[in-house]
Amino acid sequence: MKPIVVFHEVSKWYGNVIGINKLSISIPAGVTGLLGPNGAGKSTLLQLATGQLCPSQGSVRVLEQEVWNNPGLNRYIGLCPEQDAFYEWMTGLDFVQTCARLSGMNQSASKEAAERAIYSVGMTKNSRRAIRGYSKGMRQRIKLAQALVHDPEVLFLDEPLTGTDPVARRDLMDIVLRLGAGGKSVLVSSHVLHEVQSLTPNIILLNRGRLLAEGHVRQIRELIDKHPHQIVLICDEYRKLAGRVLAWDDVESVRVMPRERGVTVETRSPDAFYQRLPALALEPGLALNEVYSDDDNLEAVFKYLVNA
């Protein structure tokens, strides 16, 4: 099978700072996870793959075409960017429809496509509200809808689950899984292994702009699981939440963060922990506002992997 995305000896410098360092990689069709801590070069890689950045060295090809200065290729590419930025005064429908029209669709076709894309991410009910009033989960969904609206062959999702609540996280994961099952190729970046692992077994590990590893997740999981994982839970009743999770056997420690109204949990069984979260969030008073994994934690794991 021909690769969907090919990086050949690609380097990208921002002045003296290296974003990507001599990266050569072929990404096959299907869902692939791009994993790495902050500053690993994930966003740079995705910006290079979507033609926003020009490689300082090497070549980037998507669907067998050079990406840089090739706007026609964007008909087949969708990007859900990392930044939480929108035309805030627009409604969700307006925003997605504008993106459809920018992709070349006429007024009626763009409206139809926007409604379908919005439906596919479960935002129909809120599509006529101004984006400035959306929750983080809604914003991620509408961002995904604009990436889907022109029905691209290849999707690049940059940290699509960041800052979302468990329910939105689950829904967004389902959407990505359906896209993969529907024959789309998806490259999804994250700094949380468990998120990526829930989406695909095929992962690419980046660190400091270099390819650290690629292949099946199982091969590196064993190494990574030797390190305790820190997971941050933000909840109005954070003290009650701390008491609740401390009772779990796999939780090694809980640190209360009154200023952030949350707790940092350390566990050696992150999979089991994440699986229990949705049920926990449904308990009275324990609605979780945000769940994320500390970047420093993953950085430590990567240091370990590099040394290993």
């Binding site: 008909r75 960017p81 930025a85 479960g122």
Partner: protein, 298 residues
Amino acid sequence: MTVTAISDMPQSDRLARTSGFGLSAISAMFGLTIRQHLNGKRWMVLAGLFLLPVGLAILIRAVSPDVPHRLLEFLLAFMFIPQALLPLVALVYASGIIQDEQEDQTLTYLLVRPLPKWSIYVVKLLGTLTTAVLLTSMFTILTYIAVYIGSPEGAGSVVTRCLKAVGIHSLAVISYSCLFGLLSLFTRYTLIIGILYTALVEGLLANLPFGIRLATVIYYTRLIAYRSLDFIVNVHGHTTNASANAWQLDVRNDPNLLEHPSLRSCLMILAGASILLTFVGAAMCSRCEFRVKTPGGN
């Protein structure tokens, strides 16, 4: 709730709908730019500034009813507006053509569409010119109403003068916008550099009777105004050419200003320069790499 809903569409239909760079994409970009301007607060600030000449006209007429209307017109519509307001309107809008999208991190949504980068710049510039011209025209007309309402000057003459002023101001604001739009592709400090340029070059140097003023927008704007409108006013029994004196035009030795470009040349220079600046900006954009800062920090 599945995404296959989109994929279910026939391939031919899908390809037709995503045919890319076309009128629909251009009109969407143009509409987006205008809506961004309307949703921002800048137009309100600029409208407030544009109300200054209107307010001044009302105030001066109320306090000193003897001031000739034509002198008032000259001072407000041809000294204050082109010298102070038009560069400001152009600077405020044109400096943000690409930079606003970069700072708001929304440029990504435009860059990942099947649109050449030069077209993003050109269409957004056209949207900017539309906003600037509409704003300028509206308040130029208001200034004329404030200056001439109830005056003995014939309505036909006032309307003609007003329309000429609207045209001159529009051409000037277009030239300024194209200039500052291009400048914004070179530096992030367009506002500061633009204000310095306006004060030093368009303000100071253009008022000196040297050749350097041929490189300023205001010089051609004034010449067009001088050659298409007269500003002969009678103040306390003395007839004087207000514009020649104020604009350092030596009408005593060169009554027909033969040493200066003709009306047609001035129009062509401003229009030509605007087109040239737009082409240079478009060419730059097609090669440019626009970096949008991500939370990760690249």
